[in-house]
């Protein structure tokens, strides 16, 4: 289960890119399914993280803390994105603001709400 939480930090951009890969061979399809599962799973188990805020689990299920600790530019560079020096400080500030917004999200109030994204089997709406 812990592996799933660790995987839960996957960037949403990975998720979107994986969705684009759905028509590609088997590897892409498996990646898509994995990313969707772990992202949603991590949402459902987020309460555990809140209950033990000092745990590694908490630190890794929320990108903000990780990004701030390890250097945002390194994370982006690992994804092949060159960050101009002038952006590094701005990005850190922006992610701090995002972190503040995250704190407005009370997961316990969201638990009853489906994410409501629909996938239409066959590709056509009835």
């Amino acid at each position: 289960m812990k592996t799933n939480f660790i995987a839960g930090i996957c960037y949403v951009n990975e998720l979107n890119l994986a969705c684009q890969e759905v028509l590609l061979p088997e590897r892409g399809f498996i990646r898509l399914e994995m990313i969707l599962k772990i992202s949603e799973l991590s949402v459902n188990y987020d309460k555990l993280s809140i209950d033990s805020p000092d745990s590694h689990m908490f630190k890794i299920t929320r990108m903000g803390g990780l990004a701030m600790a390890d250097g945002i530019h390194k994370i982006l560079e690992e994804r092949g994105i060159q960050v101009p020096e002038a952006h590094q400080q701005m990005l850190a500030q922006q992610m701090q603001a995002v972190q503040q917004l995250r704190e407005t999200v009370d997961n316990s109030q969201l638990k009853d709400f489906d994410m409501a994204l629909t996938h239409v089997p066959g590709g056509e709406r009835p």
């Binding site: 951009n13 990108m63 992610m95 407005t104 239409v120």
Partner: protein, 472 residues
């Protein structure tokens, strides 16, 4: 005469074109003459297509003369945002990266306008890839607000707002992901309608954020917006988010009677931290509606407290997915602000995205509950007056706040929920127009248009328009 002609609305011009009192060529020439006179200052156009427009106007004239009048839009000159595809024509999306891109099909909205006999005379400036709200475009130059050339016209559809306000296009279309129709409509003193998500096909519109993007009309009058919605609305199997719901005769159903209408006000969100001048103009409109028999009802939508998080996460991540390859391979070709926002989107987590969608579900249900008690919700469109070009902060009652944070605060919920929302001018303060936002229940654009029409009849603008004599 030319100026007067170009200043008219579709509703005014259409009967004259139909009855051959005005020729489409004469009208197109009047519009092109304004483009010549004003656009070197305003910079609303990325490309002007004079010859093409005149040829199309001549064809419209011939058709009307021979008794083949196609309807209200026949012979009406329009320029559209440069994010909509015209077959075999360039579409830049306001970017350097797509500078040489030629579309190989028409957007569904373009096809519909072509069938209706619209005369196209150019493509309009916009915020790069629609990812921003200033239209200070680093590649095609800053678009300026016709009311005050030192101020932004709003965005991302700033060229559309400025062109309509300056009578360089009779009407236009914009796209709206966080407010990009309503923000420039408010800033430029025109009508901007974002219909329900799924009502107007997005096929052939370059995406910013698939689940938040909308296309809608930007016009001089509520009647024109209603008319364009009738033409553009409807199911399109080519757009996977299109929804098959019947459209209505929106323009025919307009009336100004608001007796018994219940207007909801969400004070804790939509009236918090608003420029006093904006607040005063919106409150004045509400009082006038009350005098006409409408009832004002306070409502609470608690999940709005989380709307900013949901909007930020959804728009940044989806936009970064759209542009990921170019951000890796040719980042230097993006403007600085767009590149920065794309980097931000790369840093959001899967958990953030899923929670943002859960919040959207909660917002959907909370808004639906509110609309069981009220017919529409009214708020300011923007909490501030248009700031100077180049400013990254806005002044709200002496407080300097981040433009980016403030600009979509009131419009963003309409994108998250997909509910119809319209901005209508409700006054001028310190030489700048103020927009009032009307939101309605899903697929009930007629309610939003009805209230907008009643507000239009109040003549709160007192005939004030941009002073074109000072331009050109």
């Amino acid at each position: 005469m030319n100026e007067e002609l170009a200043a008219q609305s579709i509703g005014e011009l259409a009967p004259k074109l139909r009855d051959k009192q005005v020729s489409p060529v004469e009208l197109t020439e009047a519009i092109l003459s304004n483009v010549d006179a004003y656009d070197s200052d305003i910079n609303a156009f990325i490309r002007v297509q004079k010859e093409q427009a005149l040829e199309s106007a001549r064809q419209a004239e011939q058709e009307i003369q021979s008794g083949n009048y196609r309807g209200f839009l026949h012979g009406i000159p329009m320029a559209l945002k440069d994010i909509l595809y015209f077959k075999d024509e360039p579409a830049t999306m306001g970017s350097k990266i797509h500078e040489g891109f030629i579309a190989d099909f028409d957007a569904t909205v373009v096809s519909k306008l072509k069938l209706s006999g619209v005369t196209f005379h150019g493509k309009l400036n916009m915020h790069e890839y629609a990812w921003g709200a200033t239209t200070t475009n680093p590649h095609y130059g800053a678009c300026k607000n016709p009311w005050d050339l030192s101020k932004i016209p709003g965005g991302s559809s700033g060229g559309s707002g400025a062109a309509v306000a300056a009578n360089m296009s009779i009407a236009s279309l914009g796209t709206d992901t966080g407010g990009s129709i309503r923000i420039p409509a408010s800033s430029c003193g025109i009508i901007g309608l974002k219909p329900t998500h799924g009502r107007i096909s997005k096929y052939g519109c370059f995406p910013l954020s698939w689940t938040l993007d909308h296309i809608g009309p930007m016009t001089k009058t509520v009647f024109d917006a209603a008319l364009l919605l009738e033409v553009l609305g409807g199911y399109d199997p080519k757009d996977p988010t299109s929804i098959d719901r019947p459209t209505q005769n929106y323009s025919g159903g307009l009336n100004e009677d608001v007796k018994g209408l219940v207007i909801g006000i969400e004070e804790s969100y939509f009236f918090k931290n608003v420029d006093n001048r904006v607040n005063e103009a919106v409150q004045n409109a509400l009082q006038q509606l009350e005098k006409l028999g409408a009832r004002i009802e306070p409502v609470r939508i608690p999940s709005l407290a989380q709307a900013e998080f949901a909007e930020l996460v959804t728009i940044t991540t989806e936009a970064s997915a759209v542009h990921h390859d170019n951000l890796v391979k040719q980042p230097e070709k993006f403007g600085e602000d767009v590149r920065f926002l794309l980097e931000v989107g790369e840093l959001m987590s899967g958990v953030d995205y899923v929670q943002a969608q859960q919040i959207r579900r909660k917002l959907d249900l909370d808004f639906a509950a509110a609309f069981e008690k009220v017919d529409v919700l009214i708020s300011p469109t923007l909490p501030f007056l248009s700031p100077p070009i180049g400013d990254s902060t806005v002044d709200i009652n002496g407080q300097a706040l981040s433009f980016l944070d403030e600009v979509i605060r009131f419009t963003g919920p309409g994108n998250l929920t997909g509910l119809p929302a319209l901005s209508i001018p409700c006054g001028v303060r310190d030489g700048l127009p103020i927009g009032l936002q009307i939101m309605g229940p899903a697929f009930q654009e007629e309610k939003v248009l009805h209230v907008a029409y009643a507000i239009e009849k109040l003549e709160l603008m007192k005939g004030q328009k941009p002073s074109m004599k000072a331009i050109g």
